[in-house]
């Protein structure tokens, strides 16, 4: 089962990894599979890896990605093409070798006696929750999932969630799957109906903040996964700080998963592209 927050996390390492597959699964979205035996055996749900995409010097920083699934020495990463780094990822071919630092950060944790979890995803926020959903289901926890995305084809990892969850509720901006609108509406209804003892949320930060507010209202403990710009990914540079009730915390070490009630929602999130 998932580790409690106080158990020591697995130690990160620099690992040479090989591309096993790279497939487009939706417009601008791909799934990258890497042979990364060390990381795959150590990674916990909600942790991330820091990928070095290009060896050249035109852009130098690594790119952080959540681990979607880990199995038999392979890591799956769901990525959305946004800029230079993710474009380079979309061009990776089988057998190409790159390196990663990982596993990094503090992932999701499950309270003792967890019986029914509500997972809320928005867009690519479905990525870091995949492994968690699988582990929870395998441990006999009932899992309900609310997924939101702009369109039906952007409901990435829907198959995984439908396979393990007791119930999956969908919302799309254009109504092409599930109800039309944001995922927050079905979440509000689920909270009114159900008796959840833990919520897990990942997606655009505005959505996470709104859902965290609903969780608080319903007195359900809630964990969120926050994105920040990251240079080092290992806690040294202080570029990724999140304001919390206990002061500034590093998203790469003390996060990316935080208890929602600790987060002071300010404007330190990654600026949207447009």
């Amino acid at each position: 089962m998932c580790e409690q927050a106080d158990t020591p996390a697995s130690r990160p390492a620099l690992e040479r990894v090989r591309v096993l597959g790279n497939e487009r699964i939706a417009p601008g979205v791909g799934i990258l599979t890497l042979h990364a035996p060390r990381c795959a055996s150590e990674v916990r749900p909600g942790q991330f890896v820091h990928l070095r995409v290009a060896e050249g010097r035109d852009f130098i920083l690594r790119r952080p990605f959540s681990v979607h699934r880990a199995q038999d020495g392979a890591l799956e990463i769901l990525y959305q093409v946004l800029g230079s780094g993710t474009r380079a990822i979309s061009l990776l071919e089988r057998e190409q070798v790159l390196d990663l630092v990982g596993p990094l950060g503090r992932g999701w944790s499950a309270p003792a006696g967890l019986a029914h979890a509500l997972i809320v995803t928005g867009g690519l926020g479905a990525a870091p929750l995949g492994m968690l959903a699988e582990e929870l289901a395998a441990a006999g926890v009932a899992v309900t999932v609310a997924m939101g995305a702009p369109t039906q084809e952007r409901l990435v990892a829907r198959g995984l969630y439908e396979a393990v969850a007791r119930r999956v509720v969908l919302a799309t901006d254009d109504g092409s799957a599930g109800e039309r609108g944001f995922v927050t509406a079905p979440v509000q209804r689920l909270l009114a109906e159900g008796s959840f003892d833990q919520m897990y949320v990942c997606g655009p930060e505005v959505m996470q903040r709104l859902v965290a507010g609903m969780a608080k209202e319903a007195s359900v403990p809630c964990q969120v996964s926050l994105e920040r710009l990251m240079a080092c990914g290992i806690g040294a540079c202080l570029s990724c700080v999140v304001s919390t009730r206990d002061g500034l915390k590093r998203a790469c070490v003390e996060g990316p998963v935080f208890n929602a009630e600790d987060v002071l929602w300010d404007s330190s999130e990654v600026p949207p592209k447009h």
Partner: protein, 307 residues
């Protein structure tokens, strides 16, 4: 052939010329999973101030061509917490690693107070006084951009310690040699350069600056030519040793700084890209020496062929 990697930086004996650049290596703990800290020539810690500093608003970094901008703003928990947590950790986990503490302040008095407090700690090998950070409104670069200010801070710190005192210079000046001369005259045992170059990045799509603070410090390979030029100019003009840095990613980059006149070098942004970068640089310098029949690394310093 036996290669002697050691260098003397003033009165500091370093087993090799490679140290960490302040603010890019925290206080070592975060890198302990990746490198053998005791293989470093020395560790230069993140900037430490008298009281805790909260740093700047986010976003604090922006990637640029061959480099990055940062406006972290010297976020640090203050000297007491630094001693209790970072120095204590280093003494326990890397007892043979020389520790050079990077010092920041808003006034000459604040710099001096940090040093006064650290004088009571036996595990400090030297100080690097940062008069050059572009990311704080008061102090920092204000001292580094005038000869008078630079000399004032240097003299205030000099009075309080017999430990090696290295002063870190900003490249954001018209004549860095002039500033370097004034800190040498005020009693510095060495200078380190360069700190980051003041820069800016704009997102045309949103018409906004990429950094919350609008401007920030440029580091990484993009600044190496500027850094090499300044190290060459300053080391030609001064008697005291130069700690060179700015965009060092490989052993060969480091050798270039030594040839330009540096006695030792610091690896900064490279440690973000590759957490083992410091070790690769040490190994790369050794390889260069073997390939070029050099027996003592110290022979490389200033060995640039200029004609």
């Amino acid at each position: 052939m036996n290669l002697d990697m050691s260098v003397r930086f003033g009165s500091l004996e370093l087993k090799n010329p490679v140290v960490t650049a302040s603010g890019t290596f925290a206080s070592g703990r975060e890198f302990a999973d990746f490198v053998d800290l005791q293989r470093l020539g020395a560790i230069v810690t993140k900037g430490v101030s008298l009281e805790p500093w909260a740093g700047n608003a986010s976003p604090r970094i922006a990637e640029t061509a061959s480099g990055m901008l940062n406006s972290i703003g010297l976020q640090n928990p203050g000297v007491e917490a630094f001693i209790a947590k970072d120095l204590a950790w280093l003494s326990e986990h890397a007892p043979r690693l020389p520790v050079i503490v990077n010092v920041s302040g808003h006034s000459a008095n604040e710099y001096a107070s940090v040093i006064e407090r650290l004088e009571r700690e036996s595990s400090v090998a030297a100080y690097e006084v940062n008069i050059s950070c572009p990311n704080v409104d008061a102090g920092g670069m204000v001292f580094g951009t005038s000869c008078l200010g630079a000399a004032e801070v240097t003299a205030a710190c000099r009075k309080l310690t017999t430990r090696p005192l290295i002063v870190k210079l900003t490249p954001n000046v018209t004549d860095i040699v002039e500033i370097a001369r004034s800190v040498e005259a005020a009693g510095a045992d060495g200078v380190s350069l360069i700190n980051t170059l003041l820069g800016m990045s704009i997102d045309a799509a949103t018409r906004r600056p990429r950094l919350a603070r609008v401007v920030g410090g440029l580091s990484g390979p993009a600044i190496k030519p500027v850094a090499l030029r300044m190290v060459w100019q300053v080391s030609s003009a001064l008697e005291i040793p130069v700690l060179g840095m700015g965009g060092i990613m490989t052993g060969e980059d480091a050798v270039e700084f030594l040839l330009a006149g540096a006695t030792a070098v610091a690896v900064g942004t490279a440690s973000f890209v590759d957490p083992t970068a410091t070790m690769r640089v040490i190994d790369g310098i050794a390889e260069y020496c073997h390939a070029n029949n050099i027996e003592r690394v110290s022979d490389l310093s200033g060995a640039l062929i200029e004609s």
